[in-house]
C-alpha cells in the first residue's frame, strides 16, 4: 500500500479520530489547530482555530456536526464541524486532556491534568442540544487517581466511566454517583503509565496501551483481563480493527531518547497483532518518530497513524491484508 502523507501539523500529533461514517478524519496535535481531513484522499477540509495550546484529544458527535476538543490552554471547546466556528468554551483551572461524548451526546467527560497544586479530575459536563443554552457547570467531578488521567471514556449505557492514566491503574466509576466501582489489580494491571485506551466498536471491551511495553484487553463491565499483547516498545497508541480480529499498537522510544539511538532501534512501526492469539501479524513502517495516535476507519479498510514527526499517515489496506493467515 502507498500511504497518504498529511503534513498539516507543525508539531507532534496527539490524537486521531474518524467520524461515524468514516469519511472525515480529525487530527489533534501539539500545535493549536485541530484539523479535519477527507479520509479517502487525505485532502484538508479545514482547521479549527481558537485554541491557545496543545490539543490533546477530540471527539466527534454521531451526526458529525459537533466537535469537542480538549487543550492544554485549560479549555475544552465545542465546534461546529462544518464551518470551524467555536460554539462554546469550557474553562478549567488546569489543562484538559481527554474528551469523550456519551452515547446520545447529552453528556461529555473531560479530564483535567494535575496542575499548580490541583489534582487531576474527571468532569462530566452536560451538553445542550442548542449551543446557546450551553453552560459550563459540571454534573459531576471525580477525583482520586494520582497523576495524570490520560484517557476517560464512557462505559455501556453511559452508566460507567472508564479511566486510565499515569498511575497505571484502570478504574471504572459509576457515572451517576461518582463511586469507584472497580480497579485493575497489581498482578493483572499495567506496570507503568497507561498512555492510551480504545474501546471496541460494540463497546464490550477495551484495549489499553502502556509504557510497560504491553497492551491489555479488558472486559468493560467486569474489568477482567482478557488478553495481553507483549511488544518491545513503549506503547503510545492502540486501536482495534472493527472488521478483523486485529489490534494495532503504535509507539516507539520516548521522543527524548530518539536522537541517542539508531533509527532502526526506535521501533516506530505500527504493529499488528492477532486479537485472539496475541501473536504478531506484521508491522507497518514509515514514521520518523514514535507513533502517538492511531485510529481505524469504521469500515476497517484503512487506518491512520500520527507520529511525533508531525505527519499523519493514512493507509488504505491492500486487498491481501484481508486474508492474511498467521
Amino acid at each position: 500500500m502507498r500511504p497518504i502523507l498529511m503534513k498539516g501539523h507543525e508539531r507532534p500529533l496527539t490524537f486521531l479520530k474518524y467520524n461515524r461514517e468514516g469519511d472525515l478524519l480529525f487530527s489533534c496535535a501539539k500545535d493549536h489547530n485541530p484539523t479535519v481531513w477527507f479520509a479517502d484522499n487525505g485532502e484538508r477540509l479545514g482547521t479549527y482555530r481558537g485554541h491557545n495550546g496543545a490539543v490533546w484529544s477530540c471527539d466527534i458527535s454521531r451526526d458529525s456536526t459537533m466537535l469537542l476538543t480538549g487543550s492544554a490552554d485549560q479549555t475544552a471547546k465545542l465546534w461546529d464541524v462544518q464551518t470551524g466556528t467555536p460554539l462554546y468554551t469550557f474553562n478549567f483551572d488546569s489543562p484538559a486532556r481527554s474528551v469523550d461524548f456519551a452515547v446520545g451526546e447529552k453528556l461529555a467527560v473531560i479530564t483535567t491534568d494535575p496542575f499548580m497544586g490541583l489534582t487531576s479530575a474527571i468532569h462530566i459536563k452536560h451538553i445542550a442540544t442548542d449551543p446557546d443554552d450551553q453552560t459550563g457547570e459540571s454534573v459531576l467531578i471525580l477525583k482520586g487517581p494520582q497523576g495524570r488521567i490520560n484517557r476517560a471514556v464512557w462505559g455501556p449505557l453511559n452508566r460507567t466511566i472508564v479511566s486510565a492514566g499515569e498511575d497505571a491503574v484502570v478504574r471504572i466509576w459509576d457515572s451517576e454517583t461518582g463511586k469507584l466501582l472497580r480497579e485493575s489489580d497489581k498482578e493483572d494491571g499495567h506496570k507503568k503509565p497507561i498512555t492510551s485506551l480504545s474501546k471496541s466498536t460494540d463497546g464490550s471491551h477495551f484495549l489499553t496501551g502502556s509504557l510497560d511495553k504491553s497492551a491489555k484487553l479488558w472486559d468493560i463491565r467486569t474489568l477482567k483481563l482478557i488478553k495481553t499483547y507483549a511488544t518491545e516498545r513503549p506503547v503510545n497508541a492502540v486501536a482495534m480493527s472493527p472488521l478483523l480480529n486485529h489490534v494495532v499498537l503504535g509507539g516507539g522510544q520516548d521522543a527524548s531518547s530518539v536522537t541517542t539511538t539508531d533509527h532502526r532501534a526506535g521501533k516506530f512501526e505500527a504493529k499488528f497483532y492477532d486479537k485472539i492469539l496475541t501473536e504478531e501479524i506484521g508491522g507497518v513502517k514509515g514514521h520518523f518518530g514514535p507513533i502517538n495516535a492511531l485510529a481505524f476507519n469504521p469500515d476497517g479498510k484503512s487506518f491512520s497513524s500520527g507520529g511525533e514527526d508531525g505527519y499523519v499517515r493514512l493507509h488504505h489496506f491492500d486487498p491481501d491484508y484481508f486474508n492474511i493467515k498467521l
Partner: protein, 298 residues
C-alpha cells in the same frame, strides 16, 4: 516582411502534417481498449504511422488503483462539497500538504507464515540483536555466518580451520613444482625436477614420497550427495582418527560436487575402521561407498 514570409511556410508545414495524418488514418485498425480487469489493469492498443511511414502498434498497459472503496452515505456526499474553512481556505497551491507516499509500504510479516514463533525472537527483533553487539558488524570469518557470533567464538572453528589447511595441502606437490617452474621461468633457466628444492641424490625418492603420502591410507568415498563439502566429510570421518586430508571433487565448470571425494588418515588402522563402519552408511539420503583408494594408474 519576415513575419509574412514565416507565416505561410509554417502554415503549410502544419497543414501538410495534418493532411498526411488524415489521409492515412483510416487505413489503420481501430483503437482497442481491453479491461480494466479485476486487478485494474487496462490495455489500450493503438496503431500509428511513425516518421518513416511504417505502421506501428502501440500497446499501453495502465493500472488504475482505487484508493478507497467507500460507499459514501448521503450525508458524507454532502460533506464532500463543504467549503473549506480555517487555514484550509488560503492554502497555497504549492503547499502540498497531502502527498501520496512514493514508497510502497508493506505490512511486514515478522516471519514466514506457518513458522514457529521462536524463530521470530531471533530474526524479528533487531533491538535484541543490537544488544548482542553490533549485529551488522558481527561476521564470522570462519563460517561466514552473519550476526551470530564473532570469529573467535565460532562453533565450527576447529572444524573449518583444518579442512581449509588440508585443502591447501594436497596441492603443494603440484604447486611447488609449478612455483619452482615459475621461479625458474623468471630466472630464465630451466631447472630439471631432480635439481629442484635443493634436490640432489634423493630427489627422485622425495617425488615418489609425495605420491606415496597422498595415496597412503587414502580412502575413497563415492556416492556423496551434491551438497556434501569438505567440512562435512571431515565431520563424518574425524571420529575414526586423525585425518590429514579431505578432498571433495568439484566440477570446475558448474561448481557442483562430482559426488566423490578422498579422505586420508594418519594411520592405516583408523582408515580401516572408517571403511568398515562407513561403507554402506546412509548419508544425506544416499548410501556411501567407502573403500581404499586405488593407487593412480601411472
Amino acid at each position: 516582411m519576415v513575419m509574412a514570409a514565416e507565416q505561410p511556410s509554417k502554415m503549410r508545414w502544419g497543414e501538410l502534417e495534418e493532411d498526411d495524418g488524415e489521409d492515412l488514418d483510416f487505413l489503420l485498425p481501430p483503437k482497442q481498449v481491453v479491461g480494466p480487469d479485476a486487478n485494474g489493469i487496462k490495455k489500450v492498443v493503438e496503431y500509428k504511422f511513425n516518421e518513416e511511414g511504417n505502421k506501428v502498434k502501440i500497446t499501453t498497459t495502465t493500472r488504475t488503483r482505487k484508493l478507497a472503496h467507500a460507499r459514501l452515505s448521503k450525508r458524507a456526499v454532502e460533506r464532500r462539497s463543504w467549503p473549506k474553512f480555517g487555514d484550509a481556505v488560503h492554502e497555497d497551491v504549492g503547499a502540498r500538504l497531502t502527498m501520496i507516499s512514493t514508497e510502497e509500504i508493506l505490512l511486514e510479516r515478522p516471519r514466514a507464515p506457518g513458522t514457529k514463533q521462536d524463530e521470530n525472537k531471533v530474526s524479528g527483533d533487531p533491538l535484541a540483536q543490537m544488544g548482542k553487539g553490533g549485529a551488522v558488524l558481527m561476521l564470522c570469518r570462519t563460517c561466514g555466518k552473519k550476526g551470530d557470533h564473532w570469529t573467535s567464538r565460532c562453533p565450527y572453528k576447529d572444524l573449518a580451520q583444518p579442512s581449509e589447511s588440508f585443502i591447501d595441502k594436497p596441492l603443494p606437490s603440484d604447486t611447488t613444482t609449478a612455483a619452482a617452474a615459475a621461479a625458474g621461468a623468471t630466472k630464465g633457466a630451466y631447472v630439471p625436477p631432480s635439481m629442484r628444492g635443493g634436490g640432489g641424490a634423493n630427489s627422485e625418492r622425495t617425488g615418489t614420497d609425495m605420491r606415496r603420502r597422498n595415496d597412503e591410507n587414502s580412502v575413497r568415498v563415492t556416492n556423496l550427495s551434491e551438497d556434501t563439502r569438505e567440512p562435512d566429510l571431515l565431520e563424518l570421518f574425524r571420529p575414526f582418527g586423525a585425518v590429514s586430508r579431505v578432498y571433495v571433487a568439484i566440477d570446475q565448470k558448474s561448481g557442483m560436487s562430482r559426488g566423490f571425494g578422498f579422505v586420508n588418515f594418519v594411520t592405516r588402522e583408523d582408515a580401516e575402521r572408517a571403511i568398515n563402519k562407513l561403507n554402506g552408511y546412509g548419508y544425506d539420503s544416499l548410501i556411501l561407498r567407502v573403500e581404499w583408494a586405488a593407487p593412480r594408474a601411472n
